[in-house]
């Protein structure tokens, strides 16, 4: 039986449909469930193996991106959530979902201590929303989400995507292999905090982190917007080159690997 995916919606989350499409494309059964319906029946989580908190603008980013939605989940769903991530499940938070998981303290969750807010995902250094394609390198090989992924070319779109944390937290993340993705330059060198490679000024170029187990992933870039070649910013260059060289254009591209990994984790 393939794993079932619960994709949250409501209060300004807005990427639930394309996130569902991504999971379905890799053969998983994805269902969109409104946060209020989940709060009414928290046990619903028991029927699922994967939880996706998609991108969006929950509560309009008011009081800090992801904060209000996280407060709502914490007050109404905390026990169910904690039970869910403590099982052998996968959780992903993309963009606004990443901000929500960070505010909930589901990441970094050092040593399984979920609930502590150790990282902030806050205003871009430019104080401007940034929608652009970036390159990220994967690290933290223990995460099932990242199996076989070295780097990805995918888009970011956020006004508050800057990971900030104390030096101690950073060191702990790094030494524990919990940094999942870092912004890099197209030639593979570290972004070194330089715009536009690092689009928000995140400390240590961090684009995504995991919990201690690697099963909970929170990332700012949008893999679901970069899973097919036609979605890429260089699609027209790629398809022209393929036509010129008489080659066929691959249908899939980098972002899909994350979703395939999720499917594989439960199928293998």
């Amino acid at each position: 039986m393939s794993a079932r995916v619960l994709i949250l919606s409501g209060y300004g989350l807005n990427c639930e449909e394309e996130t569902q499409f991504a999971f379905q494309h890799v053969g998983l059964e994805g269902r969109i469930i409104h946060i209020n319906d989940l709060i009414e029946a928290p046990n619903t989580l028991d029927d699922y193996q994967i939880l996706a908190v998609p991108g969006g603008f929950s509560y309009g980013d008011d009081t800090g991106s992801g904060n209000a939605f996280a407060q709502k989940m914490k007050l109404a769903l905390w026990d169910a959530l904690k039970a869910f991530v403590s099982r052998d499940t996968l959780t992903i938070g993309i963009c606004n979902g990443c901000q929500i998981l960070s505010n909930l303290g589901l990441v970094p969750g050092f040593d399984g201590a979920y609930g502590e807010r150790d990282v902030a995902v806050t205003y871009n250094q430019s104080a401007r929303y940034q929608c652009r394609w970036v390159d990220v390198a994967a690290s933290g090989s223990k995460s099932p989400w990242l199996a076989g992924i070295e780097r990805m070319h995918i888009p970011v779109a956020h006004g508050e995507g800057r990971f900030m944390m104390s030096y101690e937290t950073l060191e702990r993340l790094q030494s524990g292999g919990q940094v999942a993705f870092s912004y890099i330059q197209p030639d593979g060198r570290a972004a070194g905090g330089a715009f536009p490679y690092n689009p928000n000024g995140a400390v240590a170029d961090i684009a995504g982190i995991t919990d201690h187990s690697g099963r909970v992933l929170a990332l700012m870039p949008h893999p679901e917007r970069g899973m097919f070649t036609w979605q890429r910013d260089d699609y027209h260059e790629m398809k022209d080159a393929a036509q010129r060289n008489g080659e066929s254009l691959p249908e899939e591209t980098d972002g899909l690997a994350l979703f395939r990994n999720a499917a594989r984790y439960f199928n293998d």
Binding site: G10, Y11, G12, N14, C15, E17, E18, F21, N36, D37, F57, Y59, G60, D61, D62, T63, G64, N67, A68, K72, L75, A76, N103, R117, D118, V119, A120, T122, Y123, N124, Q125, S126, A127, R128, Y129, Q130, C131, R132, P155, A157, G159, R162, M164, M165, T169, G201, H222, R225, W230, Q231, D233, D234, Y235, H236, E237, D240, A241, Q243, R244, L249
Partner: protein, 968 residues
């Protein structure tokens, strides 16, 4: 006692950095910190948990503020202004306290500034960070701050002195002069003040006077207000509807609507139109399963007063036009178009002679409008891939702010056509979404008049995208498919008066119990409730057996919905207020009682004689100067702020090629599993109106079509929208210009077989006031037609971007280049208007577009760019920048002087590059077409080289193109 929570960022904060940069740029280096402030009268707000839930401990702290600053500047909202952050904080407070009835929370922002600034410096900064129309700014030196024990806790609560408000009788048996005053300044209050413009002419007031004479009673205020907004230019489009010269049926019916009708007849079986002009948006066929809808609105007047609020309200408003199409379409793409004065200038206009009531500066307007559409679109999760910005100093009085939304709706919903709806007698009137406040009173009548000293500030609203998003998701993603309502429409201009009034045309009447409408605060008079334009509301017609479950479902989605009355077939518009009748109007009079006002026009062609100018001495410099002009330079700063990737469907994006050239055509897949894409573009040439509005309109329509064609649209599946933004439309000469423009686009649309599916007009884009020296001025926007195109590309693999792909490819110029520099960018740069404005030959163009469509279908074209502002010179430059390739070009064969060849803006032209292996097939495709010109090739060099004319380094071009607006 109010509780005040100050959340201070103790780590580096991007918002503070931005202000530091601004202050440093004017020689005021300072250290700035930002605190988010929440104020509430609720006891629950004193709970520590509430403060903790508002602060992220990693970067923020609450508690006492540090004292190492010189100035404290706090900006908060005035009473009644939408405070989205405050609303969210209140929801958190409700959650924390487990009480759903806590009092309001108000947000404000506190800046602690350390630096050598005078009070005046801080005051100037406050002016830049706030808008006094909607916000308060308080400034304290550290001494005052210490003395007062901090900033003051301000509760901006609305207090309305309207206890026991009733509907007043209005005496219309008065002199014509006084009647006119009622029309212009509004109904008189007891204290002698007036309630704000009704925008009713004397002719209209006479008709109303006669109606009530017949009824044998005086009208109530609410009746006059309803008639005023129903008959407003904004809602009735009286200028387009009135007989004009010998055109008895008016411009709209005779030209626009007729064009579509004729095209549909010619098309027959292959007609793509499904719903035109009858709904909130127009709808065409996307594929066998879906329709796509489109609507473009303007929000010019509100954006002039409050750029952020005006623009965000505009974009979320046009989203509702989409949600209110048929049974409810899902918004899938937003688009925008802005006309501003150059933000690097400020003419210093004022509403009063002394300069005490200045207009907002062009930079303030631009920044606010850009941010408003950003917040509205991004928060709503709707991609914004396509738009444009145009600059002309005459937009300093009123900017033009165009906002559009494309929707997707199944052709069949619950076994019935998705685009059909009808309110039936007996259906309940249900309003869902935000509550009603005094914001946006008189918006409809206000936008139909020119801005002057008396323009009401209450006309300003601020959209609340999250309230709308909750409502929108509940409707288009869930409730629509339950089949619980018979009809739905949005509340925009005119509020309930307009939405219910229009829906009741289908049933034949309504009865509203006005006291049941949920309000933001008590004390509103009935007429205010009825015409308030408070945002984020939809009105539905719901069979009685479905109301309970509908309301319960909305509640589960955090949306308030309320029954406020019943649709009837009584033939009457009928409102009661606590049982008492306060409005009772004949439906026919309400909708068709507008007196006909025949219009007369004159027309004079404008411009100067065609100048005889010397060739530029340095062509390279001329091209660099041209590329740096605001109309040509990159608007990347907007494209990157607008999320164009959300929903995952962006194919052809706003920044194209490795060189990231800002493009005005986009392709998006609204259905991820389908190969089809929606092609969008726009065209607008305001300056051509200085010579001929016909040429202006033709060029805009051609550009909108040609851009879409160049990107690979299926020519048979392409439709248009028209937005007229005119000025002084009570002057025969301006009306003559209008008539000429409308005649022209009728002819062009029919020739191209591209039907109009929706349109909107804004007829008084004028500012009357004073210039910087106190002299009276009238600043009128140039007569402007925006044409927007929407089409379908059968497979996005055929889409064509503007960037050349490889060195060695051949360059072709398709179409005719003539000596047509009249009102061009190049002439404007030289300070002349000229006479030879581009004339559009639709017949010739159509031949090209059909041949082109075949070549693009066969994938023979590697890149394409439709020529626009700046002509061939600008197009070559953009291509070189986009691809990062040099170009090697020879234009000697054209027989035109190089400056005319390079900078003429002749329409109907496309510049393409073709790969070597497709060269033969490409030329064969165009064999027999005499206007396919080989002009050179994509080169391995780093230069744009035009033989005997210029050689310019790519880096210099890139810099000239990207530098001007980079820091906005």
């Amino acid at each position: 006692m109010p509780y005040r929570i100050e959340v201070l960022a103790h780590e580096e904060d991007g918002r503070a950095l931005r202000i530091e940069k601004l202050l440093a740029s004017r020689g005021n280096p300072a250290h700035v910190r930002v605190a988010d402030v929440y104020t509430s009268e609720s006891k629950a707000a004193a709970d520590k948990r509430f403060a903790e839930s508002l602060a992220n401990p990693v970067t923020q702290k609450t508690g006492s503020l540090p004292r190492d600053f010189d100035w404290a500047l706090e900006i908060g909202f005035l009473p009644g202004v939408t405070d989205n952050i405050g609303h969210t904080a209140q929801e958190i407070l409700d959650l924390c306290s487990g009480d759903s009835e806590t009092s309001a929370v108000y947000s404000s922002r506190l800046y602690l500034i350390q630096g050598d600034l005078s009070r005046e410096d801080v005051r100037v900064l406050a002016g830049e960070l706030s808008n006094k129309l909607i916000q308060r700014a308080s400034i304290k030196s550290r001494e005052d701050f210490e003395k007062d024990g901090g900033m003051d806790a301000v509760i901006p609560k609305v207090h309305l002195d309207n206890k026991g408000a009733v509907a007043d009788d209005v005496d219309l048996n008065i002199s014509d002069d006084l009647l006119e005053l009622v029309g212009k300044s509004g109904i008189k209050n007891l204290d002698g003040s007036r309630r704000g413009p009704l925008g009713l002419s004397l002719t209209y007031l006479k008709a109303i006077q006669a109606y009530f004479k017949k009824e044998g009673r005086a009208p109530k205020d609410i009746e006059l207000e309803m008639l005023a907004q129903s008959w407003s230019e904004h809602c009735k489009h009286t200028i387009f509807a009135s007989p004009i010269d010998d055109v008895r049926d008016g411009l709209y019916r005779h030209y626009i609507k007729r064009a579509t009708k004729e095209i549909r007849e010619i098309r027959g079986e292959s007609d793509i139109c499904v719903s035109v002009f009858s709904d909130n948006a127009g709808g065409i066929i996307f594929d066998e399963n879906y329709l796509i809808t489109d609507k473009v609105e303007t929000h010019n007047s509100p954006s002039a007063l409050d750029p952020f609020g005006g623009a965000i309200t505009g974009i979320v408003g046009v989203n509702r036009d989409c949600i209110g199409f048929g049974q409810g379409a899902k918004p899938v793409i937003n688009r925008y178009g802005f006309c501003f004065a150059d933000p690097r200038t400020n003419p210093g206009y004022s509403r009063d002679a002394k300069g005490n009531d200045p207009l907002l500066s062009p930079a303030t307007i631009m920044n606010g409008v850009v941010a408003g559409v950003e917040a509205g679109g991004n928060c709503s999760g709707i991609p914004t891939p396509q738009g444009f910005v145009y600059f002309d100093d005459r937009f300093a009085g009123k900017p033009l702010v165009f906002v559009g939304t494309i929707g997707l709706i199944p052709r069949e919903v619950n076994g019935k056509p998705g685009h059909i709806k009808k309110a039936r007698p007996g259906d309940k009137i249900v309003v869902a979404g935000g509550r009603v406040g005094a914001d946006g009173i008189h918006g409809a009548t206000f936008s139909s008049v020119a801005l002057d000293e008396g323009s009401p500030a209450t006309a300003v609203q601020i959209g609340d995208p999250i309230t709308q998003k909750k409502m929108s998701d509940a409707i288009v993603k869930e409730i629509r498919d339950f089949g619980w309502y018979s009809a739905i429409t949005d509340n925009g201009a005119g509020g309930l008066s307009s939405s219910i009034g229009e829906m009741a045309e289908q049933s034949g009447g309504f009865h509203v119990e006005l006291e049941t409408v949920p309000l933001k605060y008590p004390g509103m008079a009935p007429w205010e409730i009825w015409i308030s334009e408070s945002q984020e509301r939809m009105t539905m017609a719901v069979p009685p057996e479905n109301t309970d479950k509908l309301i319960a479902f909305f509640a589960k989605r955090g949306v308030e919905a309320t029954v406020i009355g019943t649709y009837t077939d009584s033939g009457r518009a009928y409102i009661t207020w606590h049982g008492e009748t306060i409005l009772d109007l004949d439906m026919d009079f309400l909708h068709d009682g507008v007196p006909e006002t025949p219009l007369r026009t004159t027309f004079t062609r404008g411009g100067d004689s065609e100048p005889s100018l010397d060739e530029p001495k340095d062509y390279a410099q001329a091209l660099l100067d041209l590329m740096g002009r605001p109309n040509l330079c990159s608007k990347e700063f907007i494209a990157t702020q607008y999320d164009h990737e959300v929903q995952g469907g962006a194919v052809l994006k706003p920044l194209q090629g490795p060189g990231r050239v800002y493009a005005e055509t986009s392709i998006t897949k609204p259905v991820l599993s389908s190969p089809k894409g929606v092609v969008l573009s726009q065209g607008l040439f305001p300056r051509y109106s200085d010579i001929d509005t016909g040429a202006m309109a033709a060029a805009g329509l051609d550009m909108a079509v040609r851009n879409a064609v160049a990107a690979g649209v299926d020519f048979a599946q392409l439709a248009l929208l028209d937005n007229f933004c005119w000025c002084s439309s009570d002057e025969p000469e301006r009306l003559g210009q209008l008539k000429r423009a409308v005649e022209t686009i009728y002819e062009m649309a029919v020739k191209y077989e591209t039907p109009f599916i929706s349109g909107k007009d804004s007829m008084f884009n004028d500012f009357k006031g004073y210039d910087a020296s106190g002299k009276p001025v009238k600043v009128s926007a140039p007569p402007t037609l925006l044409v927007s195109s929407i089409g379908v590309i059968p497979d996005v693999v055929r889409s064509i971007s503007l960037a050349p792909k490889a060195a060695g490819d051949s360059l072709y110029l398709l179409g005719v280049t003539k000596d047509e520099l009249g009102a061009s960018e190049y002439y404007d740069m030289l300070g002349v208007t000229g006479q030879n404005v581009p004339e559009t030959d639709a017949h010739q163009n159509l031949r090209l577009y059909k041949l082109y469509a075949r070549a693009s279908r066969d994938r023979l074209i590697s890149s394409a760019l439709a020529l626009g502002y700046g002509g061939l010179g600008a197009a070559l430059a953009k291509k070189a920048i986009a691809g990062g390739f040099g170009l090697d070009v020879d234009l000697s064969g054209f027989g035109l002087r190089a400056d005319k060849m390079l900078f003429s803006e002749s329409t109907g032209r496309i510049l393409v590059s073709v790969a070597p292996q497709n060269k033969k097939a490409f030329e064969k495709n165009f064999s027999g077409f005499e206007e396919c010109h080989y002009i050179g090739s994509v080169s391995y060099s780093e230069n744009l080289f035009i033989r005997d004319v210029l050689k310019v380094d790519l880096k210099a071009l890139d810099e000239a193109y990207k530098a001007p607006l980079r820091n906005y």
